[in-house]
Amino acid sequence: MRTPHPESPPPLRTRRHRVLPGFGLTLGTTLLFLSLIVLLPLSAAFIRTAGLTWDEFWAQVTSPRVLASYRLTFGAALAAAAANAFFGVIVAWVLVRYEFPGRKIVDALVDLPFALPTAVAGIALTALYAPTGWIGRALDPLGVKVAYTPLGIWVALTFIGLPFIVRTVQPVLEELEPELEEAAATLGATRLQTLARVVLPALLPATCTGFTLALARGIGEYGSVVFISGNMPLRTEITPLLIVTKLEQYDYAGATALAVVMLVVSFTLLFGVQVLQRWFFSPERHGR
């Protein structure tokens, strides 16, 4: 967590970059959109919780049921994002670099989790993974239960998160300059060494971005999870469901209290990854 000295930007760099025009215009546009669409509405949630005293707020967000739901929500989202980071990079690599029958179709399919309404995804996955479904039937004799267990939540979140990794890695892979790989090969590196030392590091920033997005998306996901999770208190109840539960009881303050906790945790998570990424993958380290 401590600041490494070499990373502090040399003054020369800043001066050089401001040579490009449009900083004020683009920053202004960005901040305007951000404030109107995101920050102003979200502040409404924070202000709603102001109706609670600190003790009430604390009691709301640390009850055993809520704590169990945090563990489940963040754990499942983390596991799903990790699985996606591994498989997603391979899928992206295969799509960009290999020629095989049906490549275009697979490429198109990657967006499916996005285009499918989350409720439909939840229904379809539950139908597949329930003990009577195509996949569930095969797993049942092995003693593996997917639907209505935390494993089912992982399946749903993996499904939801896949496009994030593939679609962030894919463009970077397409733009990757082959000269680097050629140079590595010319210098005597085996293909595996080239992949591990040249290609993977170049993909790391995009993979990180994709991982973070998949993770963040997984934490907030509601529509698909409620169908497959079974919603058992303390076991398979996710935090967004608890928020809905509170809303159904007209408990806006309680609902927004949980929402604020999720917001703060997610923000910290995203921010942490962002800072790490800036340290490790800043342009200097790329040797540009």
Binding site: T29, L42, Y98
Partner: protein
């Protein structure tokens, strides 16, 4: 121009270079993993959707899609996506330019804030607009006095859609533009091109695939969004139901087949976009073949 040509040559032919070929065993392993994963997580659910959709035969499938409520849902979905996507393209380009091309204080905070809508549960995304524009909300009285409707009407649905798709275009562009660096723009400026010209001629062509993926994702997500829209829609049949909401309603009415039929529409849309992408790719490649012959080297170092 030459930057465009070289980019496309890379896209077109990297795997044909011998030095870049992976050993066959590695290729086989990676293909198996990738296809297995895609099969398990994407193909089978997709097949399930279509099997369910066509269970009652083609005629029922057609009937489910041409029913007035379904048509109105399709129209509303197109409208919401048609407004949300351009808004996010403008925002995404502006944000990516700021973040990728400049260094400034608070850059990490800004990047994180742009990602934030993803981390916000869709339920909350809808709720915050209700807290603002609802009858009990900040602007509730003011809007009611003027007989203006935002939530439980089209504007609310559009706002919620923009919110949930907010980071998509920006997030696609930022890593790409960061990887490309600033050298080409600086070169263009040195050669006397203006800011806008540099943007149109250098930055945009370089970033076009990232932008394209961003638009595709943004569009798909805009059309498929369920949670947030569900909170602000009011579920009035034939008026404020989008395709995903219509699907849920059909499912809740035991019309499983019709529900999956309408859902398959969104899936087909995604496949169609990808087809479109292939066509554009192919036409560009042909048009630039001559240029690629003449000049294959990039001017960037």
């Amino acid at each position: 121009m030459s930057a465009t040509a070289s980019t496309l040559v890379h896209v077109a032919a990297p795997h044909r270079r011998r030095t870049l070929a992976d050993p066959p065993w590695l290729k086989r392993i990676l293909l198996t993993i990738a296809l297995g994963f895609v099969g398990l997580f994407l193909v089978i659910p997709l097949a399930a959707v279509f099997v369910e959709a066509l269970r009652g035969g083609l005629r029922l499938y057609g009937a489910a899609l041409t029913e007035p409520d379904a048509l109105s849902a399709v129209w509303l979905t197109l409208l919401a996506a048609g407004i949300a996507v351009p808004c996010n393209v403008i925002f995404g380009l502006a944000a990516a330019w700021t973040i990728a091309k400049f260094d400034f204080r608070g850059k990490s905070v800004l990047t994180t804030l742009i990602d934030l809508p993803f981390a916000v549960s869709p339920v909350i995304a809808g709720l915050v607009y209700v807290l603002m524009f609802g009858a009990q909300g900040w602007m509730g009285e003011w809007l009611a006095d003027r007989d203006l409707r935002i939530i439980f009407a089209t504007p609310g649905i559009v706002l919620a859609t923009i919110f949930v798709t907010f980071p998509l275009v920006a997030r696609e562009l930022i890593p790409l533009m960061q990887a490309q660096g600033r050298d080409e723009e600086l070169a263009a400026l040195t050669l006397g091109a203006g800011g806008w010209k540099t943007f149109w001629r250098v930055t945009l062509p370089n970033a076009k695939w990232g932008l394209f993926y961003g638009v595709v994702l943004c569009n798909a997500r805009a059309m498929g969004e369920f949670g947030a829209v569900s909170v602000v829609s009011g579920h009035i049949r034939g008026e404020t139901n989008t395709i995903p909401l219509h699907v849920e309603i059909l499912y809740n009415e035991y019309q499983t087949q019709a529900a999956f039929a309408v859902a398959s529409l969104l899936t087909l849309l995604a496949l169609l976009t990808m087809l479109l992408k292939s066509i554009i790719e192919w036409r560009h490649r042909r048009a630039l073949l001559a240029a690629a012959h003449a000049e294959t080297r990039t001017f960037a170092s």
